[in-house]
């Protein structure tokens, strides 16, 4: 592997981590709300949230360009107000990875929250606990396995994203070239040794992540 490939692997891990953190922060409250307080129209929110799972990644990437491109409404606003350019930038890679991995976390988290027996939460409320305490002390510990599993799936999906990342962030060595893109380059250039090394690294990280998600939790899980 070249120094550039190591950079690509580190960039991939950083992008996947940043995307997973964003997905957990945004997805957890939405999943909790939909699971615990369904409302008219929550089906539509679920459908939109899971759309990136079924759309071709290039379509997701194209839609993100339509929203966050420099001439698009949101993209233009971000650049004017905050000097933030998403396209052809590592933040674009994070955005693409976050959007494509969001459904995997959201679906797991929603089902984990829904599986927590309402009676436990009511029992805690009746003992004088606030909604905040009920969430942190009852709902979250009882659903943590599902949340961790969803987070790991989301991380692995973010790590492996190709299409959406390429559309939004491009393939700039040292800046937006993630390991999945570097693997594509190595394959196109016929460099089998490099390609195999990248496959081994990406595969090992994915296997380690799945093992981590499946191991028993020492405390807090069921």
């Amino acid at each position: 592997m070249t120094a550039e490939d190591y950079t690509a692997i580190i960039l991939s891990l950083a992008v996947a981590l940043a995307a997973t953190i964003s997905v957990v922060c945004v997805g957890t409250p939405i999943a909790w709300y939909i699971a615990k307080k369904p409302f008219r129209g929550s089906g539509l929110v679920v459908a939109i949230s899971t759309l990136p799972l079924v759309l071709p990644p290039t379509v997701t990437g194209y839609l993100l360009l339509e929203i966050f491109g420099r001439r698009a409404i949101v993209g233009h606003f971000l650049e004017q107000q905050f000097g933030l350019v998403i396209v052809f930038h590592w933040t674009g890679a994070v955005l693409a990875a976050a959007v494509t991995s969001f459904p995997l976390y959201f679906v797991s988290a929603r089902s984990a929250f829904a599986s927590v027996d309402f009676a436990y939460e009511q029992a805690a409320r009746l003992m004088g606990c606030s909604e905040w305490t009920v969430f942190w002390r009852i709902t979250l510990p009882l659903s943590i396995r599902g949340l961790v599993a969803g987070g790991v799936l989301g991380f692995v999906r973010a790590l492996g994203d190709f299409g959406a990342t390429l559309m939004v962030a491009g393939n700039i060595p040292g800046r937006t070239r993630t390991a999945a893109l570097a693997l594509y380059d190595a394959t196109i250039l016929g460099d089998a040794a490099r390609a195999r090394s990248l496959v081994a690294v990406l595969g090992a990280v994915a296997v380690a992540a799945i093992w981590f998600a499946g191991r028993p939790l020492s405390k807090g899980g069921r």
Binding site: L126, M127, G128, C129
Partner: protein
């Protein structure tokens, strides 16, 4: 002084068959009121209505507070002991028993010394370090009683609180419950099928069938 608990409901959610039409009055000159009736009569539903678990068009006025305002569960001052105990599976015995002390709003936090005597009263001191899944059914019910009482309720709702205990243990556990609720001036509504228990514990009985009050009065006049 008479505290009143009025429960009135004309209709509740359709997932529960039948209609409830109840207007119950609870007088605190009877420390324990028994809720008695055949299976499926709606006894647990009535407890959940009083506790505020079920969304319905019922009006529940607790502790002499006649307002129809729906109080959040945490402000009701009601404790509940469940038929299937509902001990939190991710916490050990101590954390379950102390749940309200650790996490409830401050005015419902029991003094540590009082909590210690509560644990002694119910004989769970030796269980405090154990995991919930290592307890027997009777032990679980003791812990559930301690957990509910540690939240310092004014009204305790018990849904067959000693059903998993043998007859000897049952008498002892009910005696523990009686002594604690007398000491702390807690009013109890207790679902039970056992006539002896009703005669021993209750000053007043509500006989419920198909969601309606069939009879009420002293134990001897009702059963």
């Amino acid at each position: 002084m008479t505290q009143q608990v009025h429960v009135f409901q004309s209709k509740i959610c359709s997932s529960i068959p039948g209609r409830f039409e109840l207007d119950l009055e609870l007088k605190t000159n009877h420390r324990v009121t028994a809720l008695f009736g055949p299976s499926g009569a709606g006894k647990t539903t009535i407890l959940k209505l009083i506790a505020g678990w079920l969304e319905s068009n019922s009006t529940v006025a607790l502790h002499g507070n006649p307002s129809g305002r729906v109080q959040p569960l945490r402000d009701r001052g009601v404790g509940m002991v469940y038929q299937d105990d509902l001990l939190f599976p991710h916490l050990d015995v101590l954390d379950n028993a102390q749940f309200a002390i650790k996490y409830a709003r401050s005015e419902r936090r029991m003094e540590p010394s009082v909590f210690d005597s509560l644990c002694e009263n119910f004989g769970i001191v030796h269980l405090l370090g154990r995991k919930i899944f290592n307890l027997s059914g009777g032990e679980r019910q003791r812990v559930a009683l301690v957990r509910a009482l540690a939240a310092m309720p004014k009204l305790l709702l018990c849904d067959e609180p000693v059903s998993a205990v043998d007859r000897v243990g049952r008498t002892e556990l009910l005696a523990n419950l009686q002594s604690w609720t007398e000491r702390e001036q807690i009013v109890v509504i207790m679902v039970t099928h056992d006539h002896d228990e009703i005669r021993r514990m209750a000053g007043h009985v509500w006989h419920i069938d198909a969601g309606r009050l069939i009879a009420e009065g002293s134990p001897d006049s009702v059963i």
